[in-house]
């Protein structure tokens, strides 16, 4: 089949099962967009390339499929950078296809030329510059393979403009042949035996679940393992949903704003089963005193994560899809009554949890952010996808929204990217049209991609946007209150922006809630309505997210609060 490079791209996407692309056109991708037009390929035109890449990320996290992005050369491609970095650190599979200036213009500082491979090298799993049209099918095949296998991540394919116009004899490769990467992460079962042995010896084990469990769709295995052990379990921010909120022994997430019980359990456990996580500083607190009494077992696909931040005692290297089913079988094959063995410990931590739940105090007539999120959570079914932006509202969402399933809590964990929320929620809705999608955002974050209300309206995407409106860059304000003598340097947002009008200007309904009782009288009706809506919820300015482990402190040196 003799076709041009642009057709080859789209044919290849079809072969990879891609049903939608998020993108934005421009000079270097005109031919690509022309073929897209002729083929009627589904494409969501965002209003900013950053919106496109976060949307593809939200789509990928919600569905488990690879998110696909198109952008033009130069500024189009550089607008993707934040989104690619966000996806990379959270191990989200993306394929971003960017136009590059034509072959004769490369390296000449031509119009809209930027070294996209140079710029994206540190934030991609791999990248390609395609100068020869004949290599395009192979490169696309490899890109999808690399993005979705192993530890997933973003791949950039930068395609010289003339490649899209060049005719090639098209054949899509059946197999990927890469000398340095085969995508097979089967490990050594002896390492699992050692882990089982450690569990047999333990008295105070804690299961610690990371985003890897979500990304590998292994939540069911984790649930079975936790049930078998009847041991307490905690998770990272990205692990939320692996274990259903409300499960006995589930302590909520751990770390800087994690639960008292989870952090204390880490400090007192004699065995930590860390599964698909990377020991971020947000999770460990003072790293040298993380889990001082525990033997640490690390189940991990990426060898470079083992001993990177925390030295572990045992490792089980390999894909969780390989290791966890074996671990489950081996645990079920043991005669030991784990539940009886671990019961005193489980009771100790559940008691801590009961004594120090995530809390907040009611005050008069105002809406407290935590109360708001709790109420939204109550009004949502178990299949609701909760998305967040970044800041205090993100932490409150993690604390008070009951996440019941994996891939149902989407948040920028590793980068903490403000502006992630709205486009990601949009992408999640595109990927899961039957599920309800709710975004929690702040009056700061929402402005960093609010242009996507236009995309949401034009595509009739039913996303409910809850703006936790505290008139401040809340998380910045919290640190300024605590550590910078209450100097609100450039963090106050007492402007004239009317979020209701902002949404309405772009074709999304807007509502405003100011009084506590409206959580009962107004909120249920608004959430039940068809179609996208922004709900501007006015909350007090000075509210701390607690507990809090101040930077560099041990996990048991939490500042507590509430009641």
């Amino acid at each position: 089949m003799l076709i041009n490079g642009a057709q080859a791209v789209l044919e290849s996407l079809k072969k990879e099962g891609v049903d939608v692309v998020f993108g934005y056109p421009g000079g270097a991708v005109l031919t690509l967009y022309d073929e897209l037009y002729k083929m009627n390929f589904r494409h969501i035109l965002t209003r900013h390339e950053q919106g496109a890449v976060h949307a593809a990320d939200g789509y990928a996290r919600a569905t488990g499929k690879v998110g696909v992005v198109f952008a033009t050369s130069g500024p189009g491609a550089t607008n993707l950078v934040t989104g690619i970095a966000t996806a990379a650190i959270d191990s989200v599979p993306l394929v971003c296809i960017t136009g590059q200036v034509g072959n004769p213009y490369i390296g000449k500082d031509s119009f809209q030329e930027a070294d996209v491979c140079g710029i994206t090298t540190p934030i991609t799993k791999h990248n390609y510059l395609v100068k020869d049209a004949k290599t395009l099918p192979r490169v696309i095949k490899e890109a999808f393979f690399i993005a979705r296998t192993g530890r997933p991540g973003p791949v950039v394919i930068d395609v010289a403009k003339d490649v899209f116009d060049t005719k090639i004899e098209y054949e899509y490769p059946v197999k990927v042949r890469l000398k340095g990467y085969n995508g097979d992460y089967t490990g050594n079962a002896k390492e699992i035996d050692a882990a089982v042995e450690a569990i047999e010896q333990a008295k105070r084990p804690l299961v610690f679940v990371g985003g890897g469990v979500v990304g590998s769709d292994m939540a069911n295995e984790i649930r079975a393992i936790c049930e078998r052990l009847a041991a307490p379990v905690t998770c990272t921010l990205l692990g939320l949903g692996s274990v259903s909120a409300g499960t006995k022994g589930f302590l909520g997430f751990a770390g800087m704003h994690g639960s008292y019980a989870a952090n204390m359990a880490i400090m007192n456990a004699d065995l930590l089963l860390c599964i698909g996580m990377r020991f971020s500083d947000r999770v460990t607190g003072k790293v040298s005193e993380f889990a001082p009494k525990a033997k640490i077992v690390h189940f991990e696909i990426d060898p470079a994560e083992v001993n990177k931040n925390v030295e572990v005692d045992l490792r089980v290297l390999g894909d969780l899809r390989w290791s966890l089913p074996i671990l489950r079988k081996k645990l079920f094959a043991r005669a030991k009554n784990f539940a009886a063995e671990f019961a005193p410990w489980l009771e100790e931590v559940t008691k801590m949890q009961a004594e120090h739940p995530f809390g907040y105090s009611e005050e008069g007539d105002v809406i407290k952010p935590a109360a708001l999120i709790k109420k939204v959570s109550e009004l949502c079914d178990d299949d609701t996808i909760a998305v967040t932006d970044v800041g205090q509202h993100q932490m409150w969402a993690a604390q008070f929204f009951d996440v019941k399933q994996p891939r149902h809590f989407l948040t920028s964990g590793g980068q903490g990217t403000m502006g992630y929320g709205l486009p990601a929620a949009m992408g999640a809705k595109v990927g899961c049209p039957k599920k309800r999608v709710v975004l929690f955002t702040g009056d700061g974050s929402i402005m960093m991609n609010c242009q996507e209300f236009a995309t949401i309206a034009d595509n009739d995407l039913d996303v409910k946007v809850v703006v936790v409106h505290n008139s401040i860059l809340g998380m910045v304000g919290q640190w300024q209150r605590l550590f910078y003598s209450h100097h609100y340097s450039q963090s106050e947002l007492k402007g004239k922006t009317d979020f209701v009008k902002l949404a309405e200007a772009m074709g999304v309904k807007g509502y405003r809630l100011t009084k506590k009782e409206e959580l009962n009288t107004e909120l249920p009706r608004i959430l039940a309505e068809e179609g996208a809506a922004l709900i501007d919820v006015i909350v007090p300015e000075e509210e701390d997210v607690l507990p809090m482990v101040p930077g560099g402190k041990r996990l048991d040196q939490m500042v507590l609060g509430g009641n």
Binding site: K179, G180, P303
Partner: protein
Amino acid sequence: MEKYLLAVLVDNKPGVLTHVSGLISRRAFNIESISAGYTEEPEVTRINIVVSVESENELEQVINQLSKLIDVIKIVNLSKAESIARELVMIKIRATKENRADIIDIVNVFRAKIVDVTKENVVIELTGQQHKIDALVEVLSEYKIIEIARTGAIALSRGPVPVKNM
């Protein structure tokens, strides 16, 4: 700080060197030297890296992070295997009628070679282990060194087995 010599086999594709050097800088690894060249297989480039690390753990990080690069085919720590390491240096040095004989003596003692001579200078070439090269540079530092070019160390394992089969 311990030094290790890593032989890194990579795909001979555009972008490879960006990927390798980008990784080294963003992970803040300490690199003493890095050199790359063709091998017996046209599709494979060999990068020789001398890395300096505080601990075995840090070395493991360097190797694991490099291994993650898609275009890295294989990494062998040649400091652990029995191996022969060599470096090439070229030194341009001011040489006058008065001191030329002294310089030639030094060159002979080190079994180095003079590869270029003018009225004002000589260029000396030496291949050897790093400490030998360091010693030559040290001795010549009494004279006026105009410039030095060093390749960084490269190495092969002893015996018939190539790195790709190790």
